[in-house]
Symmetry: C2
Subunit: 118 residues, 2 copies
C-alpha cells in the first residue's frame, strides 16, 4: 500500500521537491503566503536581478506552486496550495508510519513491564 502511494504523481513530486530545495524559492513561497506579489516585489528582498528572480519564479510556476496573471508588463503571482498538500501527503505516509511503529514499540514495552510484575 505504501508502495502504491509512492508512485502517486512521481513527476509532479520531483518538480515540487526540486522547487522547494532552494531557500530563495522557499522565501518566495513565504512571501506569497501573505498574498499576491509581482515578480518585482518577489525580487525586492534579495540582492538579485529581476532576471534571476524570474528564473526562480519560473521554477515555482513549473512545479505548479505559483500561478501568474499578466496585466500589461505586470506579472502578478499567487501561491497555489495543492502541490504543497501533495508533498505534505507524501511525507505524512512515512512520518505517520513511524509514529505508529513508535506507538507499537511503546505498547510492547508496557506489556513487558506488566509481565515483569506478574
Amino acid at each position: 500500500m505504501i508502495n502504491h502511494m509512492v508512485e502517486h504523481l512521481p513527476l509532479a513530486l520531483d518538480s515540487v521537491f526540486h522547487a522547494l530545495a532552494d531557500r530563495t524559492r522557499r522565501a518566495m513561497v513565504d512571501q506569497l503566503a501573505s498574498g499576491e506579489r509581482t515578480v518585482s516585489e518577489l525580487a525586492a528582498p534579495y540582492a538579485m536581478s529581476l532576471a534571476a528572480a524570474s528564473k526562480h519564479v519560473r521554477v515555482l510556476e513549473d512545479a505548479g506552486l505559483l500561478s501568474r496573471t499578466v496585466e500589461g508588463r505586470v506579472h502578478r503571482c499567487a501561491l497555489e496550495r495543492r502541490p504543497l498538500m501533495q508533498a505534505l501527503s507524501w511525507l505524512r505516509t512515512y512520518t505517520d508510519f513511524w509514529d505508529q511503529r513508535l506507538d507499537a514499540l511503546e505498547d510492547l514495552l508496557n506489556t513487558e513491564d506488566d509481565d515483569d510484575r506478574h
Copy 2:
C-alpha cells in the same frame, strides 16, 4: 513569525528537499520505511548498477535521511525520521495557514448569509 520559521535550518531543508526530488530516492525511502536494507537490497528493484544506487544512497545520507552501519563489506542502511519531520513542519506552516484563511473566508461568507436573512 512565518518568516522566522522559513529561516529554520535552511541548508538542511535544501538538502532534504533535494534528496526527495527524485523518484528512485523516494522509492528507497519507501523501502527503508519497512526496515533496514543493505545497499544491494536498495539497488535490487531498479535496472541500475550498484555504483549508481550508491550515489543515491549518498545523497540520502548527506541529507540525514539515511544512517549507515558498516559490517565488513555490508553497508546496512536505516531511515532517519527527523529530516522528514523537518520538511513536514516547513510545509505545514503554509498548508495550515491556508486552511485557516479558508476557514476565515467560510466564516465570513456564513456571516454575510446571516446578514442577508435579517
